[in-house]
Amino acid sequence: MWNRIYALFVARNLEFIRDRSSLAWSVLLPILIIFVFAYAFTEENPEKFKVGIIAGGTLEGAAAEFENTRFVKFIEFDEVEASLLKVERHQIDLLFDPNTNRYWINQTSPNGYIVERLLIAAYADSGEALLQILVEGDEIRYVDWVIPGVIGMNIMWGALFGIGYVIVRYRKFGVLKRLRATPVTAIEFLTAQILSRLWLLIAVNVVIFVAMDFVVDFRMHGSYLNLFLVFTLGSINLICCGLVVAARVSSEEVANGVLNLFSWPMMFLSGVWFSLEGAHPLMQKFALILPLTHVTQAARQIMIDGDGLPQISDHLLVLGLSSAILLIIGARIFQWE
């Protein structure tokens, strides 16, 4: 069995490595994207001003006036402690508790300074006193924030299209039919494809990760081993998604359509480019069923917050369980022809 898997694994690797154009795209595209985003957005954050508001009933008076300020996005939080980290990291510009009239700002944040002026102006005629509390913390550059998502996104494209297209092409041109006429079983074939795609994805993304770190010097506060685990599990999950799509389809056009149907929502709703905080609750819930959301969030927690396995265990659990389910479905519905 392993001899047959190894034979298919080697053949698929040779195909991929010798297909220079697809290899080049797999490496160059994410590097290009990171460069574009690094230089386009490091100086100017594309987000509006963001103010966190601690929930506590309907706002009245000066607080209501402040909340009506145009071009400021107000995001509701339940408690102060959990939200302070966002002020420290410049993810929100100011945190305001209208129940106690306290607010927290990061002195090194230019946006924080402007929003603070707006808050003070709103309360100027109210006679109510505001209490300023300063917090400290480095700004997270957009490039630091976006890199985990971009690597996740690159894994997604490589996994979905890398495995989906190959199997559909094999089926369309009769390669699968020829393999079926040998002692190779469906499980052996699929295992070889998964392993081949997995190690290629890991190898390509390790190169990209190292190269980008060298060029951009992004933030990495957590364990490399944990990050490797997240990206590996994410790769397996997304490969299994590709497997399910490719299990029966024999037309490249149909496969292309279905794979795009999977990938584009993930591109924009998994929080790769922009934070989902403040998005409609339904959209936030929908994002949680997308594997890329879990890959991106877990990788960000490791790289930016330095979180360990206990903090990302929910993401790992979702990715692991759904991978197993997708693999079983893919193997069950797989057809050689």
Binding site: N3, E15, P183
Partner: protein, 294 residues
Amino acid sequence: MSVILQVSSLVKRFGALTAVNDVSFSIRQGSCFGLLGPNGAGKTTTIEMMEGIKTPDSGTILYRGEALGQQFRNEAGIMFQTTALQEFITVREIMVQFSRFYPDTYGIDELAERYALGEFLNQDTRKLSGGQKQRLLLAMALINKPKIMFLDEPTTGLDPQSRRNLWKQVQQVKEEGATILLTTHYMEEAYELCDEIAIMDHGRIIAHDAPDALLAAHFDDVVLQIQAADIPREIGEREFQAIYRNDSAHIVTGDVNETIEHLLRFDIPLDHLRIRARNLEDLFLELTGKELRG
């Protein structure tokens, strides 16, 4: 000789079409069995069910008395009508890959020498000519020292010389003891290679025996072949029931002397007259009413 493959009451439907309809036959070990039929007769569907590629709707296929299983997969060599190979890998690499699928195989160099693959052994599979690709596919089908081989129209599209070479190679495999199941469009090929043939039409077997036995059972006459230009069509069809094909008129007769005298009475020139025995092509035409390559 014992039976190696037994097919019983095989049925396969595609929607409303019954592609294979209650087909039964058996193949003796060490023989070459030919499955002939016009396009759409159900040959490829039948052979693909026997290969385990398609699942029959009903009926049984037994290899050495058992349902197709791992032993069959290890011992069967299969060459499809058309096969795409993985891209960006060389002939040697694909041979190595396939040799890893089986427990007992020929060496790559041994096969390369036997099927003259040496000249393109390190070439990308995308760059092979038609003849080279057929030789490679045959070598791939033989890599596991098969006990039974399935060849689905193996020489279609090959030039006459490549076709003859492939026949020689198939005969050699047969001499080494392998059983062969062959489908073909070429009657000459079937006659040259097969010990037994079954003719299929509309999903059924309509004749089945050794080629000579089939000819003897169906014909006791010969064919006089005259250039069409030498015998006006109205005379040929009215007086001799001649069949005009391409630039020849074919007259079937059980009494050659009388037919020749009859032709002379109409002053038909006999300079290009050919007399030939009835062949599988004629048998096929008589049984199915169709040209084999039509």
